[in-house]
Symmetry: C2
Subunit: 167 residues, 2 copies
């Protein structure tokens, strides 16, 4: 559930604000974990979040990482996405782009985010047709990169790309 926190703020600021609002304590561990989680746009695993957090603040424990991840997901700031890895990833771009889907490149395993308004509309229509009201949509497309197959290099392969603006 999204809390009633100003959505124009950065996810990191919203996390702090939500803690304050709910009377949760602002510990150095929570600060570090939140900073690292929203420090860039990459998707990350719990384990890599722990490793990166510990580099900044050795006091961070695995248990606190899991507890903070659960909080951030509950707060609607982070989304757990399952892209076929052994453990789920967390998507820090969810709060700012709640409707994007993911391409997973079958060749290089890179994750590319995308958004398409027509898909949103059609998904909503189909859902209504079946007597439901949509709450959360999760679309993953495993795909091969055309440029990679033709030229042997994958132009997208550097890192996750920001979703295109809505048309």
């Amino acid at each position: 559930m999204t809390s009633p926190v100003d959505s124009s703020m950065t996810p990191q600021a919203r996390a702090y604000e939500t803690m304050r609002t709910q009377g949760l304590r602002f510990t150095s561990q929570r600060k570090t974990i939140t900073e690292v989680a929203f420090g860039n746009r990459e998707h990350f695993s719990a384990e890599s979040l722990l490793a990166r957090s510990r580099r900044r603040n050795p006091k961070v424990s695995r248990a606190t990482v899991y507890r903070t991840l659960a909080f951030l997901v509950r707060a609607g700031l982070l989304r757990q996405v399952d892209l076929g890895q052994s453990s789920p990833l967390y998507d820090p771009n969810f709060a700012e782009h709640p409707r994007h889907g993911h391409f997973v490149c079958v060749d290089c395993r890179k994750i590319i985010e995308f958004h398409d308004h027509c898909l949103d509309v059609r998904e909503s229509i189909v859902t209504k047709d079946h007597g439901f009201s949509p709450r959360r949509v999760s679309l993953q497309i495993e795909a091969t990169c055309d440029a990679l197959r033709e030229k042997g290099t994958c132009p997208q392969s550097t890192r996750a790309v920001r979703p295109r603006p809505k048309k």
Copy 2:
């Protein structure tokens, strides 16, 4: 990868045929597990598949269930779907309806399958626009059941429904 086995056969027959083609042995355990997996259209967990298989054939072990599940997924006959449960489910309808998505009712947790050709088309276009060729699409929509909210009962709630025919 789908093997070069006649796709007009039932998934169960295709499983046996694939075993034969690959020179794998046709054991009573594999027979039981395959029968149970494709015995109805419900999605199931590894653990429930084990329980149901053992009811028919006490010789079935947990290890063999996991090994056979991996084989059936590799053969393209079963699909692992992650619908937010603690462990993944397996979808026996995948071979016959490879393009369907899933509604997950937020209220009753029931899983309803659906298919929409317009979505297929739009997904394909979006993927191509980004320089990819789609291989596998996975669409889950968490939703609330309108009838449930209005009348207190969920008409869909009996069991997974077969996808609608393409329009």
